[in-house]
């Protein structure tokens, strides 16, 4: 009796699994994308409300836990402010020099980026932080593959899916992302890819190229829609690949992806 019960139950489980696997098979081939787009439009207000409520509560906790350090933080900021005033004067000169060099190298001046600001309204809840959800979609002129940066030209990913009022940003830490980049100091070229959400690596660097710890890595501009000169991060460690054919560098991103509130999409 009990045996029959379990046999029936296992058969049912098998049939349900086959049904779900069939859905997964179709889903992986973007069969349900139209349904997802409709769902995203309907779920957008709820998703935004829940995410922003969570963010406010989380910020509130951070605020209370940081009260004890406010006095020390204030003193540190005052000192830092004096230092920064001096640096601003120096940077004014460097800005002019930078503009000249950018025009010589054929890079797009930063001011010429057509940027669309957007709020983050969701994050990958299941995997390792592969994507962000933002509150601008096709209605705001957002298209797939547009690069996504934070205010000072740091690349964080690209648009991978767009619905009417929201879009998904595939982060650099996503295992399947790839981006052409080069070392700003030595010119070494490689491919930036995610390490299953655990970080970013610069792969396929030729053994002949030199790459050092602390070097700055920027986008090389090769590949569609990706401007040259966007900051990816800094080299943290360099090692040869297992087959010794290439070098591989661990890159420390300049921003913490899970803490992003506002991002900018480059539309041109």
């Amino acid at each position: 009796m009990l045996k029959n019960y379990f046999a029936r139950k296992i058969l049912k489980m098998f049939l349900i699994s086959v049904f779900c696997l069939a859905l997964i098979f179709l889903g992986a081939r973007n069969f349900f994308n139209p349904v997802r787009k409709i769902f995203s439009s309907l779920a957008y207000p709820f998703q935004k409300t829940f995410y922003l409520a969570g963010r406010k509560i989380s910020d509130g906790f951070s605020f209370f836990s940081s009260i004890s350090g406010l006095h020390a933080e204030n003193n540190r900021l005052v000192r830092e402010n004096y230092g920064l005033k001096g640096q601003v004067a120096l940077l004014e000169n460097e800005k002019k020099e930078n503009e000249k060099l950018r025009s010589e190298l054929g890079l797009i001046p930063r001011a010429e980026f057509n940027l669309e600001a957007s709020f983050v309204i969701g994050q990958d809840p299941q995997k390792q932080g592969d994507w962000l959800l933002i509150d601008k979609g096709s209605a705001g002129g957002i298209r797939e593959n547009m690069p996504v940066i934070v205010s000072n030209g740091i690349i964080v990913g690209r648009i991978s899916e767009v619905s009417l009022n929201s879009a998904r940003v595939e982060l650099l830490s996503y295992a399947k992302s790839s981006l052409n980049a080069n070392d700003l100091e030595t010119g070494a070229k490689g491919i930036i890819r995610g390490e299953f959400g655990l970080g970013i690596i610069m792969d396929m660097i030729s053994q002949k190229d030199t790459i050092n710890t602390g070097d700055t890595v920027v986008t090389s501009g090769l590949g569609s829609n990706m401007p040259k000169g966007l900051l990816v991060g800094r080299v943290q460690d360099v090692q040869p690949t297992a087959d010794k054919l290439f070098q591989q560098a661990v890159i420390a991103p300049e921003v913490q992806y899970s803490k992003l509130d506002v991002i900018f999409i480059i539309k041109n």
Binding site: I16, S17, G27, S40, A43, F46, F50, Y51, K127, S258
Partner: protein, 173 residues
């Protein structure tokens, strides 16, 4: 009706609220916990259709492959129900401890599906240097720990919620 409302709320809490409080990769799977909890209380037969529907909605909300979360919820529910019927009989005295064991088993089954299916479909490149057995085991164990902590925190509110739903349903009937 009220159950549907709470199920939808749970989906949005999972997809949009919880990521604010946890590091990516350590976010508890609230829906998986609810799936195990309701399977243990009402039996697999009574909940599997609801679990598939909830999983499909979660898939749409989290940009996963449609059917992946549904399969994970079903796997979690089935394994906990199987264990519950075969080996563990719920005694009032040990109820909480047994539920914790079932949660751990359900989480393991669900997470294996969530991780295994994309891996088999080569969604996670097997040449990734981050992809090593130690990393997978550490991720799975962290997931189990975070889910259990979440379950322990949510256990008494869940019991209260269930009582409230029962009372509400009795009143509306």
């Amino acid at each position: 009706m009220l159950t549907i409302f709470f199920a939808v709320a749970a989906i949005f809490i999972q997809a949009a609220f919880l990521p604010n409080f946890f590091v990516p990769g350590n976010i508890p799977n609230l829906l998986l916990l609810l799936a195990v909890f309701y399977t243990v209380r009402f039996g697999f037969e009574k909940v599997w259709v609801k679990l598939i529907l909830a999983g499909l909605v979660l898939d749409l909300a989290t940009f996963s492959w449609t059917g992946l979360n549904a399969l994970a919820l079903i796997a979690a529910a089935f394994s906990s129900s199987f264990l519950n019927r075969r080996f563990l009989v719920i005694h009032a005295k040990w109820k909480f401890i047994i539920l914790v064991i079932l949660m751990a088993a359900g989480t393991l089954a669900g997470e294996i599906v969530l991780f295994g299916v994309p891996f088999l479909a080569h969604q996670i490149p097997d040449n990734s240097s981050g992809f090593e057995l130690a990393v997978i085991l550490s991720m799975l164990s962290r997931k189990i720990i975070f889910n259990l902590v979440m379950f322990v925190a949510a256990y008494w509110p869940l019991m209260r919620l269930e009582k409230f739903i029962k009372a509400f349903n009795r009143q509306t009937l």
